[in-house]
Assembly symmetry: C2
Homo-oligomer: 262 residues x 2
Amino acid sequence: MAEKTVQGAQVVGRVAQLLRIVGRSPEGGAALPAIVEASGLTRPTVYRLLNSLAAEGLLDHHAETGTWHLGPEIYVLGAVAANRYAIEDLARPSLQRLADETGESAFLSIRRGDETVCLLRVEGSFPVRSFVLHEGVRFPLGVASAGLAIMAFLPEAEVDRLLDDGGTRGERFGPAHTAERIRANLEVTRRNGYTVNPGLILEGSWGMGAAVFDRQGNPAWALSLTGIEQRFRPERQEFLGKLLLEEAHKITQQLGEHASAR
Amino acid sequence: MAEKTVQGAQVVGRVAQLLRIVGRSPEGGAALPAIVEASGLTRPTVYRLLNSLAAEGLLDHHAETGTWHLGPEIYVLGAVAANRYAIEDLARPSLQRLADETGESAFLSIRRGDETVCLLRVEGSFPVRSFVLHEGVRFPLGVASAGLAIMAFLPEAEVDRLLDDGGTRGERFGPAHTAERIRANLEVTRRNGYTVNPGLILEGSWGMGAAVFDRQGNPAWALSLTGIEQRFRPERQEFLGKLLLEEAHKITQQLGEHASAR
DNA sequence: TCCACTTGTCCATAAGATGGACAGCACGGC
DNA sequence: GCCGTGCTGTCCATCTTATGGACAAGTGGA
């Protein structure tokens, strides 16, 4: 909503949209009908664009399954871009430690506009795991623990703008996501430093998160843990929260020290 | 050359081209006139496309310098794609070791079509360094040590096709890049396992490389070292070559063990 | 002051993306 | 065996939309 910046080459928008859709899909694979559905474009158009993107190496077309994946060019470009945006390397050890010490799965998410995108997932050892979150998955800020953790440290005006979405958030993610309940959660998050998502998206699938701050002090990333309700009882939350905050602080500090490109 | 696979959405080609141009630029930054020049498109078109790409987050426009960079969306997508194409993590320790033990700068390059793309660079300690190669830089196979190392282990027919380019290689990279001289180099490379580039691209700027093989046994990546001529004397080449082969083998083996997605 | 070289913008034109429609194939039910 | 359903791949007339020549305006150097 609210586009038209310059004059606009809207094919670019469609291309970006398709890349995002493919990137968001579960194990990196999406079939044509699903992409058509998700994009709202017509099938021939999607078909043509996907094929063109694959011809450029930006996508891959797995011949047997007919699924589309992010291609080697994206990987190559991403590797170059990573020189400018490199928390990943800093975060991986922290995720590993979180997963090792808690047994839950640990995640790094990044803020991207009004959404969070999951960048890294490290599996925990506990045999019951939630797959609501995985690499490429996006949620609006305010939904899921990563987005809540980030939102809690945004300026009030920003929060107001984000919460005022006309109710689509509730429709997509369930009635628990009202502006009031989110505000209440943010309040608690600010007090504790970490946030708790008590199965708001999927019943029984809990999560906790803590924000990581960039050099300007903005909450740009978040660490989070997910698992089943039984593993997030109040008495354990303190332990998990402390761990999350420790690792989040560690990364924030490393980012501060780290010399950045340009 | 030789396009037109399906029906083609050629904007996609232009978009991909621009992304590549920006990705290839020295410290990730390219100015508009340079991009216009490199792309062969007209200025308004490039301008419009770049702005649209930036609006989608695929590029970044640095306001002060007016330079264009790969954007956060590319980073995000690349991070997701990296799950499918992850030698990077395996290679980094090897590059570090190469750089530490030799003092030269060490590189990981990937084969992408008929080119190699540099993915990672680890600086060596030796105070005179070559900057011919850095992240995002592409060379045709057969030019630069990484591309030679890969080419040496391609099927003969493939080599023939690659060498038969009508002389543009020589024009772009200097007269040392004739088919005959490359063939001779490949011959030596096959015998030694590693390749030596004796300043073919830039006089005095030498390099050595060794191929890394994927699970199917294809040479898909290469490790390489670069530095000044004086550091690549014949008596030292054996030492450097041995190191390169060791690390290349190590990565090849790890890739074989590693369970891959899909 | 003038020149060279930028960035940003407009708009008539024509290139080319679009999408309805159809062919062909694979699967499953009856 | 036959029909229905859902898929991929392709065509092409239509009209959306990308294109690029041209111009305004700003900057810096000589």
